[in-house]
């Protein structure tokens, strides 16, 4: 079982290497986002915007004191996400999610989404984007 998991993780890594491409196709990454400020947070989706030029997912995140911040996370274009097979019912407001993102340089809660999964299936990401650690980043 353990071996299987390792093998699965290995293949997931291979999939990431060959499938993932930079998140930000419409503009550069470094102008807006901090490659050294990657966060991993849990929250509740408040809005999914299938709008141009890039999709955005908004997520409410509570800190230890109960203060809620609404994160505005940028994906790539709606067309690109649709072509890859993700549809309007795959992520909905009210769903609890775990996400990784690169924080905004000036407004931290405006981030570039790197990975998102539903809280009940953390090992099954809905969306795996490229990032600074990816070969060829940030240009495509």
């Amino acid at each position: 079982m353990r071996m299987k998991m390792k093998f699965g993780a290995f293949m997931a890594g291979i999939g990431f290497l060959f499938l993932a491409v930079p998140l930000i196709a419409h503009h550069g990454f470094d102008t807006e986002y901090d490659a050294n400020k990657k966060v991993k947070l849990t929250g509740v989706v408040t809005k999914v915007e299938w709008l141009n030029p890039h999709m955005r997912v908004y997520i409410d995140v509570s800190d230890a004191k109960g203060t809620v911040s609404n994160w505005n996370l940028e994906l790539t274009s709606p067309n690109t996400v649709r072509r890859q097979g993700w549809g309007p019912k795959d992520l909905l407001p009210g769903e609890k999610v775990i996400f990784e993102a690169y924080a905004g340089k000036v407004i931290e809660t405006r981030g570039a989404l790197a990975r998102i999964s539903k809280a009940e299936t953390p090992d099954k990401p809905l969306f795996v984007a490229g990032g600074p650690e990816q070969p060829g980043f940030p240009k495509q």
Partner: protein, 277 residues
């Protein structure tokens, strides 16, 4: 050992199969769809080397849709040159070096210009009339503001009173199986790449588009701009055919453009060749 052989086989498969099939094989199940962001799926590798389809008039079918085939991040490198080989005049090199990526007009939903492409698809659309092939349109999913570009196939000279425009004035002709597009009348507002490579309104471009097999289109591209370059320069770009079930989709760039907000700047302010102090 057997596990190793299987792993290597799967790695090779993962490099050659279309993205959607990969997702089915290695993906995360029917309940949860995992989206590898950003890529535009292209035709399967085993089809790329197939024959070039032809139109009823015998010409190669260049329709597409295609992805790639031009500059995006760095024209010099993407066009096949070594760093420093692009023969920019000193002022143009200085401007390129001083431009900031966030200032590029494209990020404010202005057109990308020639030969710029992004990771989204584009295509040639031929217009056949009773006079034959009269125009070819270049349609970019993001042009960036959804613009079409017209190539006049029924004209053999440019007008002499052109107003400078983003796409210029293009006339096209066939040299055997190669579509040659000659363009003048550009404005100086767009950037050749997000690095900020500039040009002037003296720009004259010649594109030579050849579909070398089923899945590949090559653009031998010539820049002649005595205002920004010390001599004409030749570049080469390659486009890939999209997966057959895909086509251009609607893209309205200004719908919700929030570029710059996270970084605290206003995008797209670099439409001038003036060097900012």
């Amino acid at each position: 050992m057997r596990r190793c052989v299987i792993a290597v086989t799967i790695i090779i498969l993962s490099m050659t199969l279309p993205a959607q099939l990969q997702a089915q094989l290695f993906g995360t199940g029917a309940q949860v769809k995992s989206v590898p962001a950003g890529g535009t799926p292209v035709v399967a590798d085993n089809l790329v080397n197939g024959p070039v389809p032809r139109l009823p008039d015998g010409k190669p079918d260049l329709t597409g849709p295609w992805v790639g085939g031009g500059s995006n991040a760095d024209m010099e490198v993407e066009g096949g040159l070594k760093p420093g080989e692009l023969p920019l005049l000193p002022w143009a090199k200085e401007l390129r070096d001083k431009r900031k990526e966030g200032d590029e007009p494209y990020t404010a939903c202005l057109p990308m210009g020639v030969p710029r492409v992004n990771p989204y698809p584009w295509k040639f659309a031929m217009t056949y009339t009773s006079k034959g092939l009269t125009q070819i349109y270049l349609l970019h999913e993001t042009g960036d503001a959804g613009y079409h570009r017209v190539v006049h196939m029924d004209q053999n000279k440019h007008p002499d009173d052109l107003l400078p425009t983003w796409w210029g004035h293009s006339i096209g002709s066939w040299e055997g199986d190669t579509l040659v597009i000659d363009t003048v009348g550009y404005n100086d507002k767009f950037w050749f790449d997000s690095r900020g490579t500039p040009h002037t309104d003296k720009l004259h471009t010649i594109e030579r588009w050849t579909r070398i097999n089923y899945g590949t289109l090559v653009d031998d591209f010539t820049i002649d701009d005595s205002g920004a370059f010390s001599k004409p320069v030749h570049l080469k770009f390659t486009a890939k055919l999209l997966r057959p079930d895909l086509d251009l989709m609607e893209f309205i760039c200004l719908e919700n453009n929030q570029v710059g907000a996270a970084g605290g700047y206003v995008p797209g302010t670099g439409t001038s060749n003036e060097i900012k102090k």
